[in-house]
Symmetry: D2
Subunit: 145 residues, 4 copies
C-alpha cells in the first residue's frame, strides 16, 4: 500500500489460535477492525468521535484472502488505507503481514455505509471526505502502532 | 443442581478451541451467559425483556473452575440456577458437563447487580424476585435447550 | 437454497452483540463455521472425523454480505450447501436468516483447500466427493439443528 | 503491584464491546492472557518457548472482579505478577486499569497447573521457578508494552 496507509502492530493472542495451530479465521475480521480504527485516528477522525457526532459506519460487505499462517505470539502488521466506493460507501483495504518476515497472512477489504444511529442512510459528511483526502496524500510516518 | 435449574445444550465450535486442542478458557464465560439467558427465559423473565423494562444485570464478579476437557464438536450441557446474594445482587451458579459422559467441564458462578441503563443501582424488582422464587420451586422439565 | 442444504439454528449471544446493538461482524464467520459443521455431519462426514483421518480443510477465502440486523436472543437459521470450486477446493455457501421473519441477515461463502495436518495440499478424497454428491441430491429433512 | 510485575497496554476493540456499551465480560479473561504472555516474556520464559520445551500451563481456576467501565478505544493497562500457589501451581494476579485515569476496570487471578502436552501433571521445572524468582526481584522497567 502507498502513502496514506496506517500501520497497526499486534501480537496473536493464545485465544486467537484454534486447534489447527494457526489463528482462527474470524479473528481476521477483528484485526481488520483494529486497522480501520487506527486509520481513522491517523486521518484525524477517530471512530469514537464519529459515533459521538452521530455518524456510524456499519459494515456492508467483507472479503478476505487467507494467505499464510500466523501462530501464537507472532507479531503482525496491519496496513490499512481507504477510498470511496461509489458515492455512498467507504472501502477499507487491509493487508496483514508477519512483522519479522514480511510474509502475507491475510488481505482483504470491508465496505461500509454511512448512517445515523437509527440506521438511516446518511450522505458521507464533507469533513470525512476531506480528512480522507488528506489521509490519501499523507505519509506513513503518521502511523499509530 | 436441584429442581429450579435450566438446561442449555450446545456444541463446542471450532473457533472455541485453541492450540492446546481443548476449548479456550474465555469461552466458558460466554457459555455461562448462555446458561443465564436460558434460566431467565425459563422463569418467564427473558433478559431481552428485562433490558426493555430498563433493568440491567451488569456482572460484578465471576469465578470459574476448569475441571475437564471439551473438544471441538463435543456436546455440552449447562445447568444453571440462581439465588439472591445479599439484598442487592443475584448470583447464578453454572455447571457445564459433557452430555455423553456427564463428566464436568467447568463449574462456577457469576454475581450481578441490578442497575438502570445509565448504571445507577436499582433495588431488585419485586416481579424478578417472584419469578425467581417460582423458578426455584419449578421443575427441570421447564428447561429450554 | 435447494435440497442438499443443512439447517442450523442458533440464538444470538449477548457477547455476540456490540455497542451498535446488533451482532458484531466477525461473529458471522463463526456462524458460517457452525453451518459447515452441520453440513458435513449431514452428509455423513463430520469434520471431527475428517481431521482424525488426516484431512484438513483450511480456509482460503471468504466473502460476506451483511444484509440485515440481528439482535441479542434473536433466533437465526443458517442454511448451508457445498460444491467443488475447481478440482482442488470446496466451497460452502451460507445464508443466515431470522427464523421468525425469514429476513436475511448475512449471506456469503467460504472456500477451503484440502491438506494434511502439516499443511501439504491433498487431492480431494473420493469418499468426500461421493458424500458431497449424495448430499447434493439429499433432502433437507436430513438437516441437523 | 510491586516490582516484579509486567505491564501490557492495549486498546478496547469495537468487537470487545457489547450492547451495554462497555466491554463484554469474557474479554477480560482474554486480556488476562495477554498479561500472562507479557509477564512470561519479561522473566525470560516466553510461553511459546515453554510449550516448545513441552511444558504447558492449563488453567485450573479463575476469579474476576469487574470494577469499572471501559469503552471502545479506551487505552487500558494490565499489570501482571505471579507467585507459586502451593507446590504444583502458579498463580497470576492481574490488575487492569484505565491508562488515562488509573481507575480500576477488572482485577483477578488465574491459577495454572504444569503439564506435558498430553495433560499429565509435571513438577514445576527448576528453570521456571528461578526465572520467576528473578522476576519477583526484577524491576518494572523490564516491562514490555
Amino acid at each position: 500500500m502507498g502513502d496514506g496507509s496506517s500501520l497497526t502492530r499486534l501480537r496473536v493472542r493464545y485465544g486467537e489460535t484454534d486447534q489447527m495451530g494457526t489463528f482462527y479465521n474470524a479473528r481476521a475480521l477483528e484485526w481488520f477492525e483494529c486497522g480501520r480504527t487506527d486509520y481513522l485516528r491517523m486521518i484525524g477522525q477517530p471512530y469514537v468521535a464519529m459515533e459521538t457526532r452521530g455518524v456510524y459506519l456499519p459494515i456492508i460487505e467483507a472479503r478476505l484472502w487467507f494467505r499464510g499462517r500466523a501462530r501464537y505470539d507472532d507479531e503482525l502488521e496491519i496496513s490499512t488505507c481507504a477510498c470511496m466506493s461509489g458515492r455512498a460507501r467507504v472501502r477499507f483495504d487491509m493487508r496483514i503481514t508477519q512483522s519479522a518476515s514480511g510474509r502475507e497472512v491475510v488481505t482483504g477489504y470491508t465496505e461500509h455505509a454511512f448512517t445515523e444511529a437509527g440506521g438511516r442512510a446518511l450522505r458521507p459528511p464533507q469533513w470525512f471526505l476531506e480528512a480522507m483526502g488528506r489521509g490519501e496524500s499523507g505519509r506513513s510516518e503518521n502511523a499509530i502502532g
